[in-house]
Each structure stands twice: as C-alpha cells, then as structure tokens.
Assembly symmetry: C2
Homo-oligomer: 152 residues x 2
C-alpha cells in the first residue's frame, strides 16, 4: 500500500506550508486513511498499523489526524457515540450519513435538494451557514432482511 505520488506531493506541500514535518508515522497514518474508503476510528488505524508491523502510538495518531484534518486530507466525523471517525476526504466529495443502529454500518448519501434547502433556511434566519451535521439513524437493508427490525 503506497500513497500515490500526487497525494504525497500535496501532503509535503501542505505540511511545509505550515512548517510541519513529514515523518514515517504521518506517512503511515496517511497511507492507512487513503487506502481505506471507510470511516475509521483511531483504534482501527492503530491496530491496522500495528498489524502491519508499524507501531505508532495512539497519541501520535490523534495528533496526525488533527494535522490531516487541518490540511483538508481527512474529515472528522462525530456520530454521537463518543468516538470520532475519520474519512478520506481527497477521494470523496461532500456527503452525509445513514447509520445502522443494529450493525453500526455507515452508508453515505448525497442529496442536493436537502443541501439547497439548508442554504435557503439559513438565509431566512440570516444565519451564515459554515458546516452541518446530518445523520440518519435506523436499520439498514441487510439488518432488516435478517429480521432486526427491533419489534417497533
């Protein structure tokens, strides 16, 4: 698994512009995030790297993720369960999430209509919209098929 040359170049530039250094640890975390299209938490990355024989402390992973977020390479996601998820932002455009309460699966969605209505709504309230969190919780297709409706 290797960071694409193009991404590596961008990362170096971004780091340099803030007097930050390209360390093996930062590279490893970067690789890990870019290699996955998923929504990973610190421990996923920690275990994944450790499993590949690259031990990086959790403290460094958190610090690196903050850096990567600041330079726009990852998105930090709070789904309200007390743990942050981090996702590759380079390969993906804006989206929101469906979250399965049964299996924890996170499904992405994009809805221009909703986005537009958010903007209109903000305008009506004279509110300067900067970012939003839109999470839909429920039971995913697979869990429904497995009968996990929850008896509601």
């Amino acid at each position: 698994m290797e960071v694409a040359t193009e991404h590596l170049k961008r990362l170096k530039l971004a780091l340099r512009s803030e007097s930050l250094r390209l360390t093996p640890q930062r590279l490893a975390v970067m690789e890990d995030i870019l290699a996955s299209e998923g929504h990973r938490e610190c421990d996923d990355i920690f275990l994944s790297l450790r499993g590949r024989g690259i031990p990086v402390s959790r403290a460094t992973i958190y610090r690196t993720l903050d850096v990567l977020e600041q330079v726009g390479f990852v998105r930090k996601l709070n789904i309200g369960d007390g743990r942050f998820r981090y996702e590759n932002k380079l390969a993906q455009s804006h989206h929101d999430h469906l979250i399965c309460l049964e299996c924890g699966r996170i499904i992405e969605f994009v809805d221009r209509g909703i986005e537009r209505q958010q903007e209109n709504l903000s305008r009506e309230h004279h509110f300067h919209l900067i970012r939003h969190i839109h999470l839909l919780f429920g039971i995913c297709r697979e869990c429904r098929q497995n009968g996990a409706e929850g008896g509601g």
Copy 2:
C-alpha cells in the same frame, strides 16, 4: 414554578406504568425542564435547583433525565461538544437546530421539505429511518451584526 396538573398526571401514569416512583428529586428536575423552553445541560439544572435551595446530585439528575427521556417528556440532544442538552418535549413539536459557533445560541427550525426528503432518501436505500440528527453550524444574525464573521 409548578408542574401543571395535567403534566403531573401524565408523569405519574408514565412512571407507574414502568414501576417507577415519583420522588421529590424527579419532580424538581421535571419542573425545571418544563419551566424552561431552552436547551439545558445537566449542570444548568444542577445549579438552577441548587440556587432554589433544592440540592439534587448530578447522578440523580442524569438518571432522572434518562427516565424522562424514556417516557417521552424530554429530548436528549447531542451537538457534538461533549455535553448533552435536554429539552422540554411536551410543549414542542419536532424540530432541528441552528447552532451559533460564536455565541453558542441554539435556534430551532422546522422544515417539512427536508423531513420529507429524508424519508424518501431512506426509502431509496431500503433503510428503516428511526431518528435523525440535523445540525446547522454557523454564525447567527446577532453575531453577524456584531461583526463576528470570523474573517471567512
């Protein structure tokens, strides 16, 4: 400040149906939540009650809020800053929130269009929608007027 007879009756019934007891502490927390139309955190309630000479431990407040949430009297709100907000659900219909990043103000909104689109979207994904979180973060009207645009 007193809980309306009607609400008190509903509370008693709801508690009884789950073999729960109506204690002075539960009544106090209930009064406090019902008396306010705001979005309160545990400590707000703790200090408010203490200020009125009714000391209730934080542990009990949390436990009571859980009970009140379960019986549908309050709504628990997570705006992602690590503290839960609780709001009176009896007096209010469903709504979502605009949150000012400058002053912390929380403004409610209702948008049937967005609600409908959420439902359609879920249907398309064969997802059984149970609840959602929709938060719009930005700068409120007042803060904008005070020049708190943040240079963005």
